[in-house]
Amino acid sequence: MFQPNLTAGSVYLLAFLLTLGAAGLAHLLKRIQPINIPSGIMSPMGSIYALTAAFLLSNAFLNVSNLKTSITQEVVTINKLGGLVSALPDLQRVEARRLIYDYGYSIANDESITIQQGMASEKSLLALQRVKDFFESPDANPPQGKEESVLTSNYSKKVTDLLYDLIDARERRIAQAKPGFTQALALALGLMYFALGTTIFVVTTKPWDLFVAGLLLMIAAPVPCQLLILFSNPFSSGIINIKDIFDALLERSL
């Protein structure tokens, strides 16, 4: 996996080096033999670059969107479980809620850090295990013989479904959290950038034009790369702030 701890500065440094390389190659090619490629060639080259970046970006957007859905489902499920245990007697209800919200707390304060590296936290796993243990124990059952209410009807099925939902959402979140900006994708973008840069320098002849074209390329062309890095690593880049989301869950008295 490509570890994309790349800052905006380092992306622009790479772009600068690639631009220099492209300018050098174009200069060399022109010295070998005069080149008369029409400037219209830049249009398809630009389109190919844009399409490649758009394709990669759309995948990253989709991943972020799926992650947000998983996290929302996790938060909603925790709240639903917290509400559903109202059906239990006092002692059992408060213990169930304590365990459920401990799990939420461990995500907010521990897993929010480990997930930046795409990893689950031991504390959260333990907290989830405690929730599961509780719901497998006799304490998770509402008292027998009490009149059924909206809350208690199909209680066991509701709890089972919510627990599965919770585990499912968690697994999806962890799986999708792994940094998705691979070497191959980085190489593809780099190659496209280099090809586009070389084309620009080949079709441009006047020194001032060359300078302006190089400058514009350097300013604009790394932007998709920046976005790709941000969206491929939504937790470390701060696009998804899992700590704030789970902290908000714990702000409500229940």
Binding site: G82, D90, L91, R93, V94, E95, R97, R98, Y101, D102, Y105, A108, N109, D247, L249, L250, E251, R252, S253, L254
Partner: protein, 385 residues
């Protein structure tokens, strides 16, 4: 002519009585008002308890007054801040009883403070209602004029021990305030542990009312060394907050518990993230759970009054206390006396205040045994129950 004037005056007096126009008849009962007194901590380590209690009570009293008061008399509460200092409580009580001439005392906060005021109260036979203390010393005064609404500390500790035992936490450490409040808690814990067939506390460590940080560090060091499953701290919120922080620093994974007197919201706010998971026993229903009619009424009133009162345990306790007080005053009739007021309270047997039952009798002045466990959750002062 003179006889005719007398007839008219008699007629007016009869009309006045028939329509319930108030007249002076008892200490603290004025033509247009009923004087009550409250000496409590409105500042200092337990200040939040007193302030929130007062706010909750005020919400209800304000409404009663706006609707015409009790048989035309407004309830007027004279507040005195004692900062949880027994000497100040004594001075305040003297002033309230002997100089201000209050009809009854209401919402005293704390055990040592109330005990300091007790000689004045007993000497003057002033009715006292809704002390914010669960100490046994106040619950053995059945023949006196003291009426406790909340459950005792022993009831709270019994609920905590039952919970801990049920979830396999049997080695319990105790850190307690070295005064009548803490010692009462210690006794209650020992009784509860014995009742559940558990060992006595693995450590029993007293701390002063205003413990220095080095004392807290020493005490928590000894506690952690004993490796308890749970630590119960019985003290005011600044001490409890320091104990919790010290235990967290020492990476103790023992379940921490304290009792309602701590001032739950003040504690949660002070602890921030360190507060997550700290258990607190409560003597009133959960103020955010409007399924209980009492809580619904409390929430509705706060909304209606558009006040800055936040939902909370202490303000709900104040609200409940004010409801009981008003009910007893109404039941004392248009010409209340202290005797009638005490009798009215003693007639409350199993009376429901929006689902919260109060039972007094001539032999029992302890109204409720209601206890519920809560835990602080997150770092922004929220609770679960």
């Amino acid at each position: 002519m003179k006889k005719g004037k007398q007839i008219i005056l008699n007629l007016l007096a009869t009309i006045a009585l028939a329509t319930g126009t108030p007249s002076r008849s008892e200490v603290g009962i004025l033509p247009r008002s009923i004087l009550l007194g409250q000496s409590a901590a409105f500042s200092g380590p337990s200040g939040e308890l007193g302030r929130e209690f007062r706010k909750g009570a005020h919400e209800y009293i304000q409404q009663v007054n706006a609707q015409g008061g009790i048989y035309g008399r407004e309830i007027v509460v004279i507040y005195r801040d004692d900062q949880y200092e027994p000497a100040r409580t004594l001075t305040n009580t003297k002033q309230l009883v002997e100089q201000e001439g209050v009809f009854a005392l209401f919402g005293y906060v704390g055990t040592p403070t109330f005990q300091a005021a007790l000689p004045i109260i007993e000497a003057n036979q002033v009715p006292v209602i809704a002390t914010v203390s669960g100490a046994q010393a106040l619950r053995k005064l059945n023949k006196s004029s003291v009426f406790n609404i909340r459950a005792s500390y022993h009831d709270e500790l019994s609920a905590i021990v039952k919970y801990l035992k049920h979830y396999g936490k049997k080695d319990i450490a105790l850190i307690y305030q070295n005064d009548s409040f803490g010692k009462d808690g210690k006794l209650g814990l020992e009784k509860a542990l014995k009742g559940e067939g558990l060992r006595p506390p693995v450590v029993n460590l007293p701390i002063p009312r205003k413990a220095a940080l080095h004392v807290i560090q020493k005490v928590t060091q000894s506690t952690v060394a004993a490796k308890p499953d749970a630590v119960i701290t019985i003290s005011a919120y600044n001490n409890v907050a320091n104990v919790v922080e010290a235990l967290r620093q020492k990476k103790s994974d023992a379940q921490i518990f304290t009792i309602s007197f701590v001032g739950s919201q003040a504690l949660a706010r002070q602890l921030g993230k360190n507060g997550h998971g700290v258990g607190i026993s409560q003597v009133v229903p959960f103020p955010w759970d409007a399924r209980m009619p009492l809580v619904k009424e409390y929430q509705n009133l706060i909304t209606k009054n558009r006040s800055n009162t936040q939902y909370g345990f202490s303000s709900l306790e104040g609200f409940l206390a004010a409801k009981v007080l008003v009910e007893a005053l109404k039941d004392s009739g248009p010409e209340p006396t202290r005797k009638k007021f005490v009798a009215a309270l003693e007639r409350m047997q199993g009376k429901s205040f929006g689902g919260y039952r109060i039972s007094f009798s001539p032999e029992n002045h302890n109204g409720s045994k209601y206890v519920e466990l809560t835990f602080i959750t997150g770092g922004k002062g929220a609770f679960i129950h």
